[in-house]
């Protein structure tokens, strides 16, 4: 008889769950493509190469991300900046930047390694392609536009959720929003990619004057 009692106990659990689900509560699944679940703030999705608000690329082609990558999926080749028309505020810039998404394990070590916060991760996670070449993301795909929008692989897809690209795992500006190298080390955080929504920082002289100190060095 103990068996029957246990059986009825089990049937009550499943029956109760059924009634609860029919009443419209307690669903653990969502209708995925139609209804996206909110991902955690620090979700490790597709990478993006950032720009400074003035349009300068952040990547300086140092290859530290490639060195840190445990899956060896990043390939970077740096090139000297044209002094007249620089691509990045530093000496060099990332001339070639490729990430093989078939090998990437989305550990985020490249983001940790990057000295200029040039590479960060978005919330985009749909990588299906119909051939292997498309899985190697090049600089055109990875680099954000000058207006701060992030390129989407399939922007015309009716299921593409472009708003996924607006929230990233902490967009940090390693230097001043103006991108002047003299302000390196002054970090600021911004919740979204794109141009800064705060005023440019004052120059060093301005700040020195405000704090009442003279220039110490040089």
């Amino acid at each position: 008889m103990g068996l029957v009692k246990e059986l009825i106990k089990g049937l009550r659990v499943t029956g109760g769950t059924m009634l609860r689900t029919i009443a419209g509560g307690g669903l653990v699944t969502t209708e995925y493509p139609k209804e996206m679940r909110v991902k955690p703030q620090r979700f490790h999705g597709r990478h993006v190469l950032n720009r400074y608000p003035d349009g300068m690329e952040k990547c300086i082609g140092c290859e530290l991300c490639a060195g840190a990558c445990p899956a060896d999926c990043i390939y970077v080749r740096g090139e000297d900046n044209d002094p007249e028309n620089p691509t990045s505020p530093g000496e060099r810039f990332g001339f070639v930047y490729e990430i093989n998404m078939l090998r990437c394990i989305f550990c985020g070590l490249c983001v940790e390694a990057c000295p200029t916060e040039a590479i960060t991760m978005t919330h985009l996670f749909e990588f299906s392609t119909t051939n292997r070449e498309d899985a190697v993301y090049t600089k055109e795909t990875l680099l954000m536009e000058r207006d701060g929008t992030v390129p989407h692989m399939f922007p015309d897809d009716e299921l593409a959720d472009l708003s996924e690209l607006d929230t990233a795992d902490g967009w940090m500006r390693a230097t001043a929003p103006s991108g002047v190298a003299a302000y390196e080390g002054t970090m600021m955080w911004q919740g979204t990619p794109g141009p800064a929504d705060w005023a440019p920082e004052p120059s060093q002289e301005e700040r020195d004057r405000r704090s009442g100190e003279g220039a110490t060095d040089d």
Partner: protein
């Protein structure tokens, strides 16, 4: 046979066949939906309203898939086995009356594939025949896992068929006392369950006039045994170690495409047929209030079919409910339940029923 009779027979068979296909489509969908509800999921809802065409979509997909034939198969038996599974499954339901007979002109139309006077025997024969498809599919695949699955399935089906048959015998014996002699015809068994128990036992009429004259009340033990046995007979959870979806070493491991779909179809047809038989034998079949005179004629003509489907679906729902609840039995537990519990219980109940029936018919032997 005159032409009208010929057309009526054709109509009966085609209607029964069509009903069976339709409810099978619905059953697969209903099972997925109910299981989803019991597991806090959404379930199929894209194909058609509420996903009701999901089975059609799956069937079409399987139909257009390649049916792989492994190199080592015994080709003849390998190709024959799926048909051996489907044909008996359909033939079983042909015996079940699924509505009240009505008249077209001078000809009576029974809503039943065929009314054999050995209907129950035929059902037992066909469900035994279905075992052949399992063992042949397992053996002819030329692979060890299907072979093991086939052997297991055969042992299970044979063990539980014994309990199922014994439970049926108790009903047949009881039915013989309810009318003019014994019968194995399902139509006659349904007829003898019309009315209420108040008509049979006048002394308790005030109470029993609300209790329908279904066999389940005097034969409750036989009903429970029969129900457990048909769950095992149709290879459903918790007795589904024949195919064991998670482990996938069933007898149809080497089948793909439409050939697999036929095994799948046979399983769901069997579920409906077996539940229909349980409803027919124990729950009064299509018997139920028809409100004749107070509702339009067509409605009261269709109501028996509605009652029949309602009873059958009640049992099918319990099938699904149990599947969502119970974990799978181990093989030795399965055999223990079959041989040490169900068959002795069925035999004991059979002896008890026989004793009561003969006592009521002939009086006590010592008097």
């Amino acid at each position: 046979m005159s032409w009208p009779q010929f057309w009526i027979v054709l109509l009966r068979v085609v209607a029964t066949f069509g009903l069976l296909l339709l409810v099978t489509l619905l059953n697969v969908w209903a099972e997925r939906k109910i299981l989803a509800d019991m597991q806090s999921r959404i379930g199929p809802k894209r194909a058609g309203p509420f996903g009701i065409l999901q089975t059609v979509a799956d069937g079409l997909k399987l139909f257009f898939k390649e049916a792989v034939t492994p190199r080592k198969v015994e080709l003849g038996m390998y190709l024959l086995a799926p048909f051996l599974a489907v044909v008996p499954a359909f033939l079983i339901f042909m015996m079940v009356p699924w509505g009240r007979p009505f008249m077209i002109g001078d000809n009576e139309v029974a809503l039943q594939g065929a009314d054999l006077n050995i209907g129950l025997l035929f059902i037992l024969a066909m469900s035994s025949l279905a075992v052949y498809s399992v063992v042949l599919a397992g053996w002819s695949s030329g692979s060890k896992y299907p072979l093991l699955g086939g052997v297991r399935a055969t042992a299970q089906a044979i063990s539980y068929e014994a309990a199922m048959g014994l439970a049926m015998v108790a009903v047949v014996m009881f039915t013989a006392t309810q009318g003019d002699g014994g019968t194995l015809s399902l139509a006659e068994i349904v007829n003898r369950q019309s009315g209420t128990w108040g008509d049979v036992i006048p002394a308790l009429e005030p109470v029993l006039q609300f209790v329908p004259r279904w066999n389940v009340f005097p034969q409750i033990v036989a009903f429970v045994i029969f129900f457990v046995a048909i769950i095992a007979e149709t290879n459903r959870a918790p007795f589904d170690l024949v195919e064991a979806e998670q482990e996938i070493v069933g007898f149809h491991t080497e089948y793909s495409g439409m050939r697999f779909a036929m095994f799948f179809l046979a399983e769901y047809v069997n579920i409906f047929s077996m539940c229909a038989i349980a409803a027919t034998l124990f729950l009064g079949g299509w018997n139920g209030p028809t409100f004749e005179g107070s509702v339009p004629g067509l409605v009261s003509a269709l109501l028996p079919t509605v009652w029949f489907l309602a009873k059958t679906y009640f049992l099918i729902f319990i099938f699904f409910w149990i599947r969502a609840t119970l974990p799978r039995l181990r093989y030795d537990q399965l055999m223990q339940l079959g041989w040490k519990r169900l068959i002795p219980a069925a035999l004991g109940w059979l002896v008890l029923s026989a004793a009561v029936i003969s006592f009521r018919q002939f009086g006590s032997p010592w008097s």
